[in-house]
């Protein structure tokens, strides 16, 4: 796997999630960060830090990205969300436009 096809998402606590660029781009916000023509640090290093998003939530978000890709390609499964996570996840999803 080539490095430029991957992207690193960093949580508030500093945990790093390395995922496919395609998956990360499910988020409109990340898509804009990675594709905008300006010299965003994010565009150059393929690294995005989310000081507002905890590790648990960011992990869930990453799982959602992959689930979304699968769902879009026709694999109809449920995406389980624990009720305890709903509020934080909702806010993160709202921020990420996903």
């Amino acid at each position: 796997m080539k490095k430029e096809d991957m992207v690193k998402l960093i949580s508030a606590e500093g945990f790093e999630f390395v995922i496919d660029k395609d998956a990360a781009m499910v988020s409109q916000t990340i898509y804009n960060m990675l594709t905008s023509p300006g010299s965003f640090a994010e565009t150059q290093h393929g690294e995005v830090t989310f000081p507002e998003i905890s590790t648990t939530i960011l992990e869930k978000i990453c799982k959602y990205f992959y689930w979304h890709l699968q769902f879009a390609s026709g694999k109809e499964t449920e995406f389980p969300i624990e009720p305890e996570l709903t509020l934080e996840l909702m806010m993160a999803a709202n921020y990420l436009h996903t």
Binding site: Q28, I61, Y64, H68, F79, P80, I81, E82, P83, E84, L85, T86, L87, E88, L89, M90, M91, A93, N94, L96, H97, T98
Partner: protein
């Protein structure tokens, strides 16, 4: 529009009572919720019937908009919590019958509230309005069909920021209206069914920004000129003059004169500026000559139903047909000849109703000249579905074939016509058809078979037909079929219908013998009324344990079990208002014994 994951989160959070308890304690997160998320979240909780007064508390820092319309349980306790919502901009408690004047006390002096809907809260009286007038920020107030008297209406004059005021069905007198003239920001005023007369109508000129006015069911016959008026409702009035007087002509867009009487139609409508007028409803009115129509070239929506319109006058409609999208001619004297005059002049028409007119199949053959038609109502007409062609060809010409060229046809109503099976054959090629209504004792399995090939059929009503079990069994509808109404198909048996439902689980089927809802009716589809009631009962039952207001006396504490059981059958129990709570109690006590 919230994003996909937000939607999934809200769904998961509102799954059931247990999931609510899982997040209920996360106060810091709840306080940080952006208002649009909080609003959507609360809406879902209400829809899922998981909301109860004390749960409202956790939303008091985030929610800006609450719609509790028609929620029967909303009472003083709910209002007490709502009063603490710091950022609430809009509160809708229309049709919440337990909301009384005193229940409104907690919302006194709210500082952000701009919109309040109390429509049909019958127990809100003048005393309630005294609480409301302390909310000086109010811009929109709906109090139609409440318990307000003329005095209460007069009090509203202190809400100087009002731009919308709905006083429908209240006893507003000329004097009360006159006291409201200080509300100079008013753009929308609804006083249908009031006691306002011509004298009061003269006051309306003081509202210089007025763009919407409803005077239906009043004694107003002369309406003065209102230069900003865009929309006027004067249904069921007797009209002698309209908008006569100095000042510019109002840029009218919408006029509704349904059921109105005109003393002299040419004179009454003389002062109307027609260049922006796009909506005109003169159904059931006394209009005779329609000579004003040719000036109304911008009309998109024209309702002439139950009027004197006929073939002799239809020329007036034809000459303004270029922009028409929606034309209602039902219950008029327009016949096929009239439709012939109209055809070719209605290039943009999308919706056409000709129900209860003397038209026959000749009219149907003209429809191909209205290429954008989406919905056609031909119910209760003489349409047979075929035309006898004189001469060589002995075959019958199927008139519905003319509709084949309508690429946008989504809805067709052929109820109570004379169509037989053979005439419906062209239907099988209607690619866009979503809604179809048929009702005839002549139709059989053959007709239903034609409909198997409709790819987008969503709603099918197939009434009173001679439909057999095997016919239903052979019916192979598109997966899009959501609703099928088979009422009056007397040959069908319960077993046959149930086995059909088993095969097509996505379809809701109605019949006298059974009413089967789609089997996958989870939270996302709205449950039927009967399901709702049972769920409400369940919620009420659970609520009882969590939130008990101080004034609430549990009936089980008041009476011991023996007394309760004896009450159950005594004649006295009928005198006690049997609301849901007490019925529930009875069930419980009987299950205990």
């Amino acid at each position: 529009m919230e994003s996909e994951l937000v939607r999934l989160c809200i769904e998961a959070a509102c799954e059931n009572r247990e999931s609510v308890e899982k997040w209920r304690g996360q106060r810091r997160s709840l306080e940080r919720l952006p208002s649009h998320l909080a609003d959507a979240f609360l809406r879902r909780l209400i829809h899922r019937r998981l909301l109860f007064p004390s749960l409202l508390e956790v939303f008091k820092h985030s929610v800006e908009k609450i719609d509790l319309r028609g929620e029967k349980s909303v009472d003083a306790e709910w209002m007490a919590y709502l009063g603490a919502f710091h950022y609430l901009r809009s509160l809708n408690v229309a049709d919440c019958h337990k909301v009384t004047s005193s229940a409104l006390w907690p919302i006194t002096g709210m500082t952000s509230l701009k919109e309040l809907d109390l429509s049909r809260c019958m127990k809100v009286t003048d005393a309630g309005i005294k609480h409301i007038i302390s909310i000086s920020t109010l811009e929109k107030l709906y109090v139609s069909e409440t318990g307000l008297t003329t005095n209460g209406v007069t009090l509203i004059s202190s809400l100087k920021n009002l731009s919308l005021l709905d006083l429908g069905g209240l006893p507003v007198t000329d004097q009360a209206l006159s006291s409201l003239q200080v509300l100079t920001e008013l753009q929308y005023l609804d006083i249908w069914g009031s006691e306002v007369s011509n004298k009061g109508a003269a006051v309306l000129q003081k509202f210089s920004k007025l763009s919407f006015l409803n005077l239906a069911w009043t004694n107003v016959t002369k309406l003065p000129n209102l230069p900003s008026l865009k929309c006027l409702h004067m249904s069921n009035c007797t009209i002698s003059s309209l908008l006569e007087g100095d000042g510019g002509k109002p840029p009218l867009k919408k006029l509704i004169f349904s059921g109105s009487k005109f003393e002299n139609e040419a004179e009454a409508l003389m002062h109307i500026e027609t260049s922006f007028l796009s909506f005109l409803d003169v159904s059931n009115s006394s209009l005779q000559r329609f000579c004003f129509l040719p000036n109304m070239e911008a009309l998109k929506h024209l309702d002439l139903s139950s009027s004197i319109m006929g073939d002799d006058l239809v020329e007036h409609v034809a000459c303004i047909g270029a922009n028409l999208r929606n034309l209602n001619l039902s219950k008029t004297r327009v016949s096929s000849a009239g439709v012939g005059i109209l055809a070719g002049h209605l290039p943009n028409l999308e919706i056409l109703s000709l129900s209860y007119t003397p038209i026959d199949d000749v009219a149907v053959s003209y429809f191909s000249m209205m290429p954008l038609l989406r919905a056609v109502d031909l119910s209760n007409t003489n349409v047979k579905g075929f035309i006898h062609q004189e001469g060589a060809n002995p075959d019958l010409f199927l008139s519905l074939k003319a509709l084949e060229s309508l690429n946008h046809l989504e809805r067709l109503d052929l109820e109570q016509t004379h169509v037989r099976d053979a005439a419906l054959k062209p239907l099988s090629s209607f690619q866009e058809l979503k809604d179809l209504s048929l009702r005839s004792a002549f139709l059989t399995d053959v007709s239903l078979h034609y409909l198997s090939s409709l790819p987008k059929l969503t709603n099918l009503s197939f009434h009173d037909a001679v439909l057999s079990n095997s016919g239903l069994n052979l019916f192979n509808p598109s997966a899009t079929l959501k609703k099928m109404d088979l009422c009056g198909c007397w040959l069908l048996t319960e077993d046959a219908i149930l086995s059909f439902c088993k095969k097509y689980t996505q379809t809701e089927v109605r019949h006298e013998l059974v009413h089967v809802l789609p089997s996958n009716s989870n939270g996302s589809t709205s449950p039927s009324p009967s399901l709702l009631t049972s769920r409400t009962l369940l919620v009420n039952q659970k609520q009882g344990n969590i939130s008990i207001s101080p004034s609430f006396v549990d009936q089980r504490l008041k009476y011991n079990r023996e007394e309760l059981l004896s009450l159950q059958y005594s004649s006295l129990s009928r005198a006690i208002p049997l609301d849901r709570g007490s019925t529930l109690l009875m069930n419980q006590s009987s299950s205990m014994s």
